[in-house]
Amino acid sequence: MDPTDIARWQFAITTVYHFLFVPVTIGLSAIVAGYETAWLRTGNERWLRLTKFFGKLFLINFAIGVVTGIVQEFQFGMNWSDYSRFVGDIFGAPLAVEGLLAFFLESTFLGLWIFGWDRLPAKLHAACIWLVHLGTLFSAYFILAANSWMQHPVGYEYNPDTGRAEMNDFAALLFNKVQLVTFPHVVLSAYMTGAAFVVGVAFWQLTRRAANDEDRTMYRKAVRTGAAIMLVSGLGVAISGDIQGKIMTDVQPMKMAAAEALYDTEAPAGFSIFTVGTLDGSEEKFSIKIPGLLSFLAEGDPDAEVVGINDLRQQYRQTYGTDPGASYYSPGDYTPVIPLTYWSFRLMIGLGLAAAAAAAWILLATRRQRTPGGRAILWTALVLPFLPLFANSFGWIFTEVGRQPWAVFGLMTTDRAVSPGVSTLEVLASLIAFTLLYGFLAVIEVRLMLTYIRRGADPIDHQPPTDDADEGDRPLAFAY
């Protein structure tokens, strides 16, 4: 294996893994903040119990997100030093700003929130978790701006003297048209994911025999708020995703053609729900198609022409010359791996739609104090958290694989981005180390998560402060 392959595997594994925890963090921080605010507004203790219950689960998830995030930032320099040299002037800025604006905010106010229950006034305490959420949004904005620049480079000039892309318009970078639609798409997907987690956990608790009336009311509230958030954000995900598809057709037409495995230009172009083809994706054996849908997704018009892979190859060759990495990529010039692009696109959409449908069903089934008891709906609820979660993963796999062979679209191919001085052995060692450690941590995390999910929301401890101990001697409200 050559170091580029290993470095790509490492990036794929560490990034997909990291991004299992990120959407839950973004979504759940908002929901926990919402519950705490609801408690402050209504004084009803069930909201406090939900705050603490999901707050605990949030922290179990957040911890892994944070520690695996460090790898993300270091990895560019370690494995992709030529990429870092080439784009640092423009790509480094949003990363630095992310650290300064987002990471400090998240970490400091999360510390205050975790340990501050008895030291901060209630409103200030709730403000802390809102600030954590704001931090996650800042973080998402700047890292997505950096990624959007890789999809559609703007606000830069290539400097032949230094041999690198140099920034000349920071505002263009921040308000890249790809970014403006990617940010809502990703953040709303994250809300969907966090909410699906809440629905799954709360629904399971709701249908347990042990739950008493008050608990049932509380979990029903959680199920219904979660399902409602899923539906609203799901709608936003669909709309933003649709706009994204049209922008993608404009700026990265090959990605759209690869998403449908559309070899020859068609007008109108259909969208296949299911296709069996040869493994390299070069030939189609069987497929179920919806006529005109691809045309609609790409151009907003069911009769529009969608340019196919073969024509695009010609175009790309004229624009960029012969693909410098052609021998490296399957199946050929300027084309990403078709089966992976094709299926990840469908799985993203399919899982997202399934999640929204399941949320609608659960919302309907729990109306007017009903507690549905069927097996089907229970299993749906248990599977539910994974639907938007994996939709997120496939969305990223699609967007990153679909950009290949480019690391930065039109500017730098991935095989040129890798660190020239790092040996195969070094990259391999780190790939193995991260994969083993991450796998091990996943087992620990999931077990811990299940333990605390099973335990459910604790009752509120109403122990009055004892008179003989003065305030400074009381045990901490929370301690590690």
């Binding site: 520690v67 790898v71 640092g88 990471f103 205050l112 020239p420 929370f478």
Partner: protein, 339 residues
């Protein structure tokens, strides 16, 4: 002042902040088996840094990000060149960070023991390797004419660099002991104060050796002043700790680390990564830098947001200013058995 110089200073400040802050939480982590005799005492130690360690670590992330943005060549050469030490640091920071959050989640002796080990090793490895890495940067490493590191791993293990590692290790241990004596009460407080003085004596010796060696190799007048003041601060801190003045003791190690790191950067300037090859090219604040435009944007962002960050981070330290003693540790509410 040139913007490249401004950013060199800002990155130095970020590393100073990182070592002064995470330095003590590394120390606390490493002292877990030394100063705590039972689980409650271990929890006392961990809870002194519980609310703040993550914020401390962000200084590293921002230093990394700022280097990427302001000196892309430096970031690229350093991170790809010091590959294995950075890998070890990353692995250490991962298990350590997780340990703080997960350790208390199960009331189970072997679970806690394993996470304690993660905290101890996860604090030890970076405390040692950051010193090794910085000493190598100062010493100069093989960087060829393409600004690429060509030295391999074992090149990084030389006597000067190992002395650098011993210096950060001992300084952080002392700094951690000072912090514990400042933030706890009861037996741990007394033991930590005594230990700080003893560790501090060893740290002072190694620090003087390392900084002296550095001064001879790459020093300037400015770095000499910084190093001298760092030594004074360290000795003053130790003296204060001996007298039981814990706040002054902690301030002493804090200032000593700050001035020591500042002196290293003063000795480095205007290089950021000198080459040890005769036909190689050193990375400097000019040939490694981003464009004027990028540096201007970044300066504006830093000027607006850095004071804000400093303010709220300082406030969080104020909120958690109280000492923690054994009787403050609540009984564990964690689950007892496995899943």
């Amino acid at each position: 002042m040139e913007l490249t110089t401004v950013w060199f200073i800002l990155i130095a400040v970020l590393w100073v902040g990182y070592f002064c802050l995470e330095g003590f939480d590394f120390g606390v982590g490493m002292l877990l088996p030394v100063l705590a005799k039972n689980d409650t005492e271990r929890r006392v130690l961990i809870n002194t840094i519980g609310p703040v360690w993550d914020g401390n670590e962000v200084w590293l992330l921002v230093a990394g990000g700022a280097t990427f943005a302001a000196f892309p060549e430096w970031y690229a050469t350093l991170f790809s060149g010091f590959y294995l030490p950075l890998l070890l640091i990353l692995l250490a920071l991962i298990v350590r960070g997780l340990a703080f959050e997960y350790r208390a989640k199960r009331d189970d002796a072997s679970w806690k023991r394993n996470w304690d080990l993660a905290i101890i090793i996860g604090s030890f490895v970076p405390a040692l390797l950051w010193g090794v890495a910085f000493a190598n940067i100062l010493r100069g490493v093989p960087i060829d004419a393409d600004l690429e590191y060509v030295g391999g791993f074992f090149n990084l293990l030389n006597p000067y660099a190992l002395l650098g590692g011993a210096t950060t290790l001992l300084l952080f241990l002392t700094h951690g002991a000072m912090f514990i004596s400042l933030k706890t009460d009861g037996r741990i407080r007394i033991d930590a104060g005594r230990l700080a003085v003893r560790l501090g004596a060893a740290a002072a010796l190694v620090t003087v050796l390392f900084l002296g060696w550095t001064q001879i190799k790459t020093g300037t007048v400015a770095s000499a002043v910084a190093f001298a003041l760092a030594a004074v601060a360290l000795l003053t801190g130790l003296y204060a700790a001996r007298l039981g003045r814990e706040g002054w003791g902690f301030l002493g190690t804090f200032v000593a680390i700050a001035l020591g790191v500042a002196g290293l950067f003063l000795g480095l300037f205007p290089d950021v990564m000198p080459t040890s090859l005769s036909d190689g090219v050193s990375l400097t604040t000019s040939n490694a830098a981003a464009t004027h435009y990028t540096l201007t944007i970044m300066t504006v962002v830093a000027v607006i947001f850095t004071p804000l960050v400093l303010a709220y981070q300082a406030w969080s330290y104020w909120v958690f200013r109280k000492r923690i003693a054994v009787h403050h540790i609540p009984e564990s509410t964690a689950v007892v058995s496995g899943a």
